[in-house]
Symmetry: D2
Subunit: 292 residues, 4 copies
């Protein structure tokens, strides 16, 4: 099967490498050519324009935002090059409104649309152990599922409407940001009474909160290890903003998400735009006149 | 060793039973006599007044609030009956200010004070599998540790100052309430787009949030199983209020805790005072005009 | 001078009538023709397409949103019909980003752009007593100022950059929404203790808060007179959303605006979309299980 | 008539001076004797102990907090010295719960209790132009009303239950704090776009918000004139805390008050405890990386 791949950032490169290793033929495109060359060294064909990747049976997309996908895919003429029966698999975290619009646009051209946003940071992508949230027309999902398995630890089916996978992805990232804020406020409180953040987190992750996310993030926070960033603060802000927009569109107030949004903006106003989004937790210390 | 025990609610009864089963001699007191009789049937000696329980080497306390402990222990004359060398082990979730004050008051009388608030709901207490947060003077902690082990899954030492265990306990309960709110908002968002709360929670607890607390509470929320309550809503409000008070005393703003406080009050205003505190999650549905 | 006018809702009709009465020649366009006919009866020329109104020296615009102005003005071909030296006066409450973009687009075509958002509800527009916030190139402002005076109580100059008038307009509407929320929470608190909202408001507007906005809105709230709406709830939500977006673009967190946004959404989720935005105050009563 | 007066801070001294000037005989007590001596120079009799002031027909109280009034009045033995028929007029801003408790305690001893919290800063007290919120038994209110008139611009009757005047006072101070926060956020937004706070405030106070409170506070904020403080930040925090407590006691969530509380604490954590409470507005600038 011929596969196309657009968007070779930290996440996309790791995923594409797994597709290659599984023996698939890959046409890859990336805005800056360096990442495409790296994959070409592993056997992929680097193409000059996004349209080149659409001469394929399945196209994967891991671009940064709604706006970038609009520019690179929907408004670039690339769809005119699509093979008959093409399935577009959108791995990116996009807005719910975008997912609806993109699926409709492609549907009018006979292109299948599968939403497959992933849970996991770049190291997990490199290890081929991502959790893939997947929704779309059953026959389209069935066709791409073996491809998803090449880089997934598990695949979570979420029904026929692609946008539902996006809602779940946004909800998960909201929950992560909420956890980071919680860890920050809890640790700022504890520290004011002489309890080291690491001691508090040891109790939490050793008991009620013995979950991967808590362990990973509490270690980053306790050590104030916010650089290099695996997922930068402005990306966290973006995802919370997408949750708020999705909520507003259906009249669902999300006061906790509003609070997170304000704190992300405050962190960026303090110069943290290149830090990992776990630096959101620093805000609770700053607001109380403390340091982690 | 002679042990006293005051406060035989759901938690206290379970803990006292384990002390009994481990062969200790127990003098028990409870405001309503029925719970004391149940333990008497298991071999404890029921005493008429709190002071009766203080003719002991170690007294455990699992009373409901600062105010109750003031009335039953500090202002009842009970301390006048304390044996020389008595150690008072406070299992209750009290304010940080109270812990400081109580430890000081007892210290003036030569009574040791160990803070040992516990993590776990009544079924965990009954199973003798509580996590015990423990702080106090090392020699006092060393003496009571074997007793704590009779009902603990693990003991978490948190230093010499008793109040530090209370801060950590409050931080844990704040984190639980924050998790409940997060689950509620995330599920209200998902449901507005046709994703059942249980489907969202399956993804969360199967991946990033595979923690005991998330599993227990997400099941309660998805099933809207808020009665009978293992921990009632007003108790959740109390603990968040204590976190806020502890924060204010050291100039630590806790905006997420403020949000939780408002939502607890709103839930009580809607008649949820007898529901489990996981019903906090219903608020997100109510505010969006939905039902779980 | 030939004047064009697009957008004849409650506000626009009142303003256009004053321009007419001052002897100006008006070409008017509105989506639904009825409002245009009413003005034609007063002497205006109703045109079929927006472009018809641009055969003029000055065009006033009072359309509902960024999106509508994009459709009716920027992307409709209307600008191709602009007379040389045309000045476009935007009375509408638009986003700061839109004001920047529109001014730039028009500047490229030699069209002057004056931002002149107004403070006042439809009855004030009808009375010709609006406060006009005004910013733009000095010569353009100087030319349109006599026109603004025909419907203004006062004109507030805010500098050469049009978007600054929009920021100030958004800030004023944010302050109004904040006042409504404040009145709601204060009255819900008072009522829970047996003090009627009107009694509280009498003290407030008789002392510290003896301002037009407090008097107008407290009367609406105390009487629960939310219909007919002079300014509907979703428009209030829109303006708060624009404040938040303007804040985010320059890294200014606005936590109070976030709270207002959540409460507007909650009100709409409870079916209040056709009520006046003063109905925001009902939320505080609803959340406390009370009625105004 | 013999009058007693306890509590001679900035507010109390100004009020007591007006009572003296109206020809009343005054026994005054203050913790630090200097303020009492100043009034003695004007003709008052300085007494050594609070009880000395209770040998009177009416006692005015302007002490700092519930705790201080407990210590100085309720638990000092002073009430034992009360003349038959004494009326206690509490000018202080106290909690609703305290007002209820104090009125009940005094009622048991045959002492009348009138709540008369005032609106106005020290300069207004010195000018004898305070707004007095007044509630209590009609006959008691009637007797003290001539005394109140000696320092009041207006007296606002609020019914027979003293605590209602306290609720209204708290609601007014909540509304002031809310206004300060609003001015801060609005100005931080405007400044990020190049609009000076003073220019924004000129529009606001010249139009919708032409009220004394807006004029006074916007001038302080625009000029960053936070010292010397007429009303210190921690006092503002205290009053918001009392509003929240009153709300919680009757199940009224006050999310805007919660937000204010967090911001007051944050300001204190940044060292602003000696600034005027209008410095709350600085927080919006600080959070956005700006300065006023």
């Amino acid at each position: 099967m011929q596969i196309g791949f657009v968007g070779l950032g930290h996440m996309g490169s790791g995923i594409a490498a797994h597709l290659l290793r599984n023996g698939h033929s890959l046409k890859v495109w990336n805005r800056s050519a360096a990442a495409a060359r790296t994959l070409a060294d592993q056997g992929a064909e680097a193409v000059d324009r996004p349209a080149g990747a659409f001469d394929a049976d399945v196209v994967f997309c891991m671009l940064a935002s709604d706006e970038v996908i609009d520019a690179v895919v929907l408004n670039s003429g690339a769809l005119d090059q699509a093979r008959a029966g093409l399935i577009f698999v959108n791995l990116a975290t996009v807005s719910v409104a975008f997912a609806r619009r993109a699926a409709a646009t492609m549907g009018e051209r006979g292109i299948g649309y599968v939403a497959a946003p992933v849970l996991g940071r770049p190291d997990v992508a490199a290890a081929g152990a991502l959790n893939v949230l997947c929704a779309g027309a059953p026959e389209a999902v069935a066709r791409v599922r073996p491809l998803l398995e090449s880089f997934a630890k598990a695949i979570w089916p979420l029904g026929d409407e692609p946008y539902r996978a996006n809602v779940v992805k946004l909800a998960c990232n909201f929950a992560l940001a909420s956890m980071i804020e919680t860890l920050g406020e809890a640790a700022a409180l504890a520290k004011a009474y002489g309890v080291a953040p690491a001691d508090l987190f040891a109790v939490m992750t050793g008991t009620l909160f013995a979950a991967p996310a808590y362990k990973t993030y509490s270690a980053l926070i306790a050590g104030a290890e916010f650089s290099p960033a695996a997922f930068k603060l402005p990306l966290g802000l973006k995802d919370v903003r997408l949750s708020l927009a999705a909520g507003e569109a259906e009249n669902v107030p999300l006061p906790l998400a509003s609070l997170l949004r304000d704190h992300f903006i405050e962190a960026i106003a303090h110069g943290d735009q290149d830090k990992d989004w776990s630096a959101l937790a620093e805000g609770a210390f700053r607001r109380s006149g403390q340091r982690i």
